[in-house]
């Protein structure tokens, strides 16, 4: 890996760059395969066996089995490819966004109706670290 990127200090955000694309290639190509109905059926019948067809890392396979979306993203998953997996599960973008932000779908939908997550306090990782610090202090 090269030097740190100037987008690394955006909180709660993983930029799908060339390095992550390389890391997540097989994970994303597995997701892509779910665009075909017969592959979706095979995956649903035995998830583990289907995953073993792809040279993914054990961590990536486990994250898929756990439907741990943030983990999949940290292991090179891209949201548009992961969408094929959550569509297979019958879930929506809004459902998965809620899970990734640690809120219920109702809370998340209400936040969007209220105008979404504001940029204030959400631009730099340092702002989130400060929030964590205040939380700890009560």
């Amino acid at each position: 890996m090269g030097k740190p990127n100037e987008y690394d200090d955006i909180p709660g955000t993983t930029v799908f760059d060339a390095q992550r694309s390389r890391q997540g290639y097989h994970l994303n190509m597995f997701c892509m395969s779910l665009m075909k109905a017969e592959n979706r059926a095979a995956f649903k019948a035995n998830e583990r066996a289907y995953l073993d067809r792809y040279p993914m890392t054990e961590e990536q396979k486990q994250a898929v089995l756990d439907r741990d979306w943030n983990r999949m993203i940290s292991l090179g998953g891209n949201i548009y490819f992961l969408a094929k997996l959550f569509f297979t599960d019958g879930k929506s973008f809004q459902y998965v966004a809620a899970v990734m932000t640690g809120s219920t779908q109702e809370e998340y939908a209400q936040m969007m109706l209220n105008g979404g997550r504001p940029p204030e306090g959400n631009r730099y990782t340092a702002e989130w670290e400060k929030k964590q610090e205040w939380k700890k202090r009560g």
Binding site: Y7, G12, D17, Y124
Partner: protein, 280 residues
């Protein structure tokens, strides 16, 4: 001679397709969205373009990670509707304009834009949602469409400046085509939104409103927005807004703003829409 008469920018949120295709467009949540396009539908019926050049991004439908073209121009006679995982949208197949597309490809490549030529490509919601918003649910799309797919899935997308200059080159190409065609260019995607990670749901209304003002009156300023600024201010998927600059580059410096609409939320996204006309 062919000429570009107007530009249309609009978000292409997939939930809009679902709302329309499942007959939910009358529900209060979605009615607010579709109401914002009433004037647009009347406008495009009146303008009645001969060809649309539609700038959009593919969402892992036609292009996986095997091949990632930065700019891909659709030169086929027909573009099938992609199956994005729940069957193709029930909309007409998209007819292309292979003659004009081939001419554009030749012209812009000699103008030093090394784009990819695509002769077989399924088109997803990125292309069909803008058509649905502007034309509703016709049996056939009223005119041929030339798709221009821009990579915004894997970072980095082309810069806003590059997109703007490609728009200029496309205009030059259109104006050197010897058929009498009236062309409208669509720039799609955006506005502020983030679909992934703990910061998902980010919306930046102030950024979006400044962007809408500038796309009409000061597009050169928008070409100076860096990728990091898009990511930080408009969200990881808000960077799609560079595609609006291809459309804007294809228009006159001075344009008439015909219609504007901004609404939060459409699912996870701030929906933005503007129509700009060349004056002559």
């Amino acid at each position: 001679m062919a000429r570009i008469v107007a530009g249309v920018a609009t978000s292409h949120v997939p939930a809009i397709a679902a709302a329309l295709d499942l007959g939910k467009s009358g529900e209060p949540y979605w009615k607010r969205v579709f109401d914002g396009y009433q004037r647009s539908k009347e406008w495009i019926r009146k303008v009645d373009p001969d060809v649309i050049i539609l700038v959009y991004n593919d969402h892992a439908s036609a292009f996986s990670l095997e091949i990632i073209p930065t700019f891909a121009l659709g030169c086929a006679a027909q573009f099938p509707i992609a199956d994005e995982g729940w069957g193709p949208r029930p909309v007409p197949a998209v007819k292309g304009h292979p003659e004009l597309a081939a001419h554009i490809a030749q012209s812009v490549i000699l103008d030093e834009f090394d784009l990819t030529i695509v002769n077989r490509m399924d088109v997803d919601h990125g292309l069909t949602v803008p058509l649905s918003l502007m034309y509703g649910q016709p049996k056939e799309w009223p005119c041929p469409v030339i798709p221009l797919a821009v990579n915004v899935v894997q970072y980095p997308p082309p810069t806003g400046r590059r997109c703007y200059h490609l728009g200029r080159a496309i205009r030059k190409a259109v104006e050197s085509f010897d058929q009498n065609l009236r062309v409208v260019v669509f720039g799609t995607g955006g506005m502020s939104h983030q679909l992934q990670g703990p910061r998902a749901g980010l919306i930046n209304k102030a950024f979006d409103e400044r962007f809408l003002d500038a796309i009409a009156r000061d597009p050169a300023a928008l070409t100076r927005i860096s990728h990091v600024e898009y990511l930080r201010e408009a969200g990881s998927e808000g960077i799609e807004l560079v595609m609006w600059l291809v459309m804007r580059g294809a228009l006159d410096d001075e344009v008439e703003e015909v219609h504007r609409f901004y609404h939060v939320p459409a699912s996870n996204t701030a929906l933005g829409h503007i129509i700009l006309e060349n004056r002559k």
